[in-house]
Symmetry: C2
Subunit: 236 residues, 2 copies
């Protein structure tokens, strides 16, 4: 936790109250003492400093100053085939930590149906992972996360508008075109499941203007490909 | 497993024998049948195709053709503060999958002493993770992995020679210099532990010519920072 990310209801004027996971982290990991200063931020708001005024047995009270903006979002709309549950949480944290603000988790032929039943897809569980990603990266802007359980209608009815005004790319090993480097404009990037999109899905994406691009001769797992692709498109 | 990576002792002339983990994977994950063709490679050797000639209860026999070279290594010498054991395996797999061939796992003030006691540091355990990384990426060249339990003598007596003829960089959030993009020459990159190198360590690295570079305003976990840094330096 490199940033203590507060919800608006934790704040009253210049003071904030911290309990639960964040309080435990302050105490056990950061070993915070009264008088210590910690980096804070408000969800979808500014960042600043908090000075610990009181440490109880279950909560801490901080005097807060909010004086700086969060880091800029990266101009990427990410379309990601739903990863298997154990990967989903880590991947969602990573994507959030890297500054992506528009995330679509979509179905694909090679996504196992059971993945959609995972408890990790509950809204609170998804929000928790994104909050952990923001706290890790020192950001406050929550991503907009969308779930789309049907690939074809999503691509045919929605994706064209989502990608409008951006460079539309799909990561696909079977192409001669390398993924662009250091883009200066918005990108919509589709990333398939382990095993990749099936040819029909690539054709459908191509039919609405998605260009297949590769990441080099090596096949990378989603958890590695995602940071590698984002960092290559937007080195920041 | 995108590549069946064989050890030389599995091969006799044009034929190879597969058992254990690889055999189980062929059967249960790839559901291979006699006559199927699978991508193969020989550790530190060429890649090609294997046709399954016989499937026993515990082993498979393949007729092999080795006709293509592995993908080129990326010209990166990676100096990585030893990650915590649960991260080490995944990170080592990722680094290997991305094509790094010179890896130094080193101590640092913020590396917990207990990490060095991990069973995952046994040579066989480390080799297994690198083989998994190569099989994932479709590569055959095993990385050279070195463990250095003492930071100061490593930097003072060894690192200068390791970095010779390369651009020496240390990932450090507290600098104004961004990490270079798309390098055309060799790089030696040092990456600290969670929490980063301590100032003394940065000074020591700087004293032998390491330039501190940052990855942007966000603080990334090692498992995300490593692919992001490698992909940025060598987009491939």
């Amino acid at each position: 936790m490199n940033l203590l990310l507060l919800k608006p209801d934790q704040i009253t004027q210049q003071s904030a109250t911290v309990s639960g996971r964040q309080f435990d982290h302050l105490l056990t990991v950061q070993r915070a003492q009264v008088g210590d200063s910690v980096r804070i931020g408000v969800i979808d708001g500014p960042m600043g400093q908090g000075i610990i005024k009181a440490l109880g047995s279950e909560q801490a009270t901080l005097e807060i100053t909010l004086d700086s903006p969060p880091p800029p979002a990266i101009p990427l709309r990410l379309i990601l085939a739903l990863p298997r549950p154990k990967m989903l949480r880590r991947t969602l944290q990573s994507i959030t930590a890297m500054g992506v603000k528009e995330i679509y988790l979509v179905n694909s032929s090679r996504v196992e149906k059971s993945f959609w039943q995972s408890p990790f897809l509950q809204p609170e569980a998804l929000e928790e992972q994104m909050i952990l990603g923001l706290e890790q990266a020192r950001d406050t802007q929550m991503p907009n996360l969308h779930l789309r359980k049907r690939f074809k209608p999503f691509v045919e009815d929605e994706l064209g508008n989502i990608a409008k005004g951006s460079q539309a790319l799909v990561a696909h090993p079977v192409t001669e075109v390398p993924c662009p480097i250091n883009c200066d404009s918005a990108v919509t990037l589709a990333i398939g499941p382990e095993g990749g999109f099936i040819p029909y899905e690539i054709e459908l994406l191509s039919s609405i203007g998605f260009q297949s691009v590769h990441l080099g001769p090596r096949i990378l797992r989603v958890e590695v490909a995602v940071p590698a692709l984002i960092s290559r498109l937007f080195p920041a």
